[in-house]
């Protein structure tokens, strides 16, 4: 592997700089009318600080529209951040272009939500997997085929020769997602960003894919950013979890700690809205905060969650946004005035 740093679990103990480090990251999208008149902006990511050590698996949890996918795309270099800095392996990504950007892209693998949509339907698997290699100048058909076979074997699509000839629609959803993961691994990246990789898969396949991601992440000591809306798929597959709400990170902690002793009212709401399968569920009303997810165009003042928060303190929460680093425990950070 290209990153010589040792494992950084837990991240706070990391010697030197972590693999990925974002500070005060903002990604806004301008809303325009008639193509040029600015009428506002969508503040998808607003002041996110994030570190990801080499070999560390981190989950970003949040509901749709909380900015988690925009965060992923910004880190992938697909959106330009409107503010803040991102450093990867010591190099700033801001303003990276041309060759340097291409080199960065070889070091970051991307796994998307919809495995069928993520594969060009008119190419066979062989071709799909050859594309990144061709783009990054891996010469020689034999060499490419060797690497493709290795990647396919790694994600458990064996015999590789059978899979290579197939087209995406001939594979099941789980197999398609394995191909996507193989593609993300082909260029021997240092980091993988997986945006809702299992939300479109069946329950029996989900665990397989999550286990696969965890396995390759550990074997190659990859940094993994796992983006999900489903807190229940987090526990066994990452080390640390962040919760996003309204474009901001509201809580981050080691995953077991987060699930057992959540500090932010929003995380609590998520946990109490979700249930494990149980016959008694049908007999009880769940506690759900009222209201709607915040608008990213006209977000609420102060703490983004205050209009829905059962513990909101008047005169405080709607006035000033809480800083992101109240620490109820050493490695547990919450953006909530309750922990002041």
């Amino acid at each position: 592997m290209t990153t010589p740093q040792p494992s950084t679990r837990p991240p706070q103990a990391a010697p030197g700089e972590p693999l990925l480090c974002a500070e005060g990251l903002h990604t806004h999208f301008e809303l325009r009318q008639w193509g040029f008149v600015r009428v506002g902006s969508v503040r998808a990511v607003e002041g996110v600080d994030l570190t990801l050590g080499a070999g560390e698996a981190v989950a970003v949890v949040g509901e749709s529209g909380c900015g988690k996918s925009s965060l992923a795309r910004t880190l992938l270099g697909l959106h330009r951040p409107t503010g803040g800095t991102v450093r990867f392996d010591g190099t700033p990504l801001n303003g990276l272009s041309g060759r340097a950007l291409k080199r960065y892209r070889a070091r970051v693998g991307y796994v998307q939500q919809d495995p069928y949509g993520a594969l060009p339907p008119f190419m066979d698997i062989q071709r799909i997997l050859a594309e990144p290699l061709i783009i990054h100048g891996v010469r020689g058909r034999a060499e490419r085929e060797r690497r493709i076979d290795t990647a396919l074997a790694e994600v458990g699509l064996t015999p590789a020769a059978d899979t290579r000839r197939k087209f995406p629609h001939q594979l099941s959803g789980g197999q398609q997602q394995r191909v996507v993961i193989a593609r993300a691994l082909l260029l021997r990246p240092a980091m993988i960003i997986a945006d809702e990789p299992v939300s479109m898969l069946d329950a029996s396949v989900r665990v397989e894919i999550l286990e696969l991601l965890r396995r390759v992440q550990r074997e190659h000591r990859l940094a993994l950013l796992y983006i999900t809306h489903d807190l229940s798929t987090v526990r066994h597959y990452v080390d640390r979890a962040l919760v996003m709400y309204g474009g901001r990170i509201v809580e981050q902690a080691p995953v077991t700690d987060l699930l057992a002793r959540s500090g932010h009212p929003y995380t609590e709401a998520l946990l109490s809205a979700l249930g494990d399968p149980d016959a008694d569920n049908a007999r009880r009303q769940r506690e759900v905060p009222g209201g709607e997810p915040p608008s990213l165009v006209h977000p609420p003042s102060g703490c983004r969650f205050h209009p829905r928060c059962p513990h909101a303190m008047q005169g405080k929460c709607e006035v000033e946004p809480p800083p992101p680093d109240f620490r109820p425990r050493a490695d547990h950070r919450v953006a909530c005035w309750l922990h002041e």
Partner: protein, 444 residues
Amino acid sequence: MSPWLQGLTRLRQYPSALAGLGIIVLLVAVAIYAVTAIPYSEARDLWRSGEAWQDLPTSAPPVWADRLLGGDAPRTIRVATDDVVMEQERYEGVRLQRATLPVEFPYGGFPQEVNLFVESQFDDRQPFVRLTWRTPDGEAIPLGARRVGESERISISQDRQLESRLGFAPQVGLFTDAAPGTDDPQVRQGTYELVIEAIQFEETATLDANLVVYGQVHGLFGTDHKRRDLAVALLWGTPIALAFGLLAAVGTTVTTLIIAATGVWLGGWVDAAIQRLTEVNMILPLLPILVMVGTLYSTSIWLMLGVVVVLGIFSAGIKMYRAMLLPIREAPYIEAARAYGAGNARIILRYLVPRILPVLIPTFVTLIPTYVFLEASLAVLGLGDPVLPTWGKILNDAQAQSALYHGHYYWVLEPAALLMLTGLGFAMLGFALDRVFNPRLRSV
């Protein structure tokens, strides 16, 4: 199996596709035959020359058309002195050559014209020729006597003197036994003879004569007003029509698609510029521009092709492809390609364009005849290529000569049939391809 192969296999289920393919294969075969049998330069010269066509009748319908209607119109009969024995007698200082050219005339109608082409070689003194027409009854009609030059056409049917002697136009009077002035003279069938008696004043002088009794019908396709066999133009029109249609369709669709994809992918001012250019171009009328170019500059088919392609690029197609490509731009696989470092050109050519090719192929196939028709329309408007024989030029000539008014239906119907056949072939194949590749139309 690749989706392409699957699509093509599925094509076999559509009889219309096979029929269309059959027609196209036939047209291509004709085109290949045309260019190999008559090379390009030869075809061009042949069509323009007058000499090559001098022994064909003017505006003669095809033989089969007459026979189908139960007619018995005469075909063209050619008899040459080379085919018969030339008698020779010597007198003092002169030679008398005599040849009898038999004309077997079994038809129910009178010939269109009668011409005698005479070629002679001499140093100084022209031969003197006397012609006599002998009917099957043995009656001899003198056709006059004259000196002939090296190459001469003696238009027997144009002989006014003879006409007044016979009481009919010569081509009628010579082939009937009706009394002069009869309203409806009937043909006297049988073997006629033209006796040529030449007096040669030089020992080495020669004389060759070639009698042409022009029929009222000709060949498979008939002739035009310049005696040209339409077969040549119909045959050579095929490769020109196909090439024009194919090149124009390829030129417009491929460039249009790539430009549309570029605009969709790059967005911003590039897209806006392409859109505005298209909108301006869409209100420009194609035909008047072509007429202007043709009138002011040149009517060369290749120039026309160029103008058609250039004006065809920024056409409604751009809007259509844009609408198809816009949702594809947002496809996760494109985002993935960006994430693994694919450049703009690669994304446009390898990720965007191939996605809509299946929908494009049928459009492309049905577009070919559109351009074939356009080329024909241009020719009809008098903007046909000045030298090449094409289907459109036949129509143009037919129109100029008021072919339909004169009842020369074959002249219009033959090129029209070929145009329709082309349209039919490509349309049947195109519609079937559409059903195969366009999922919205496919009903299970």
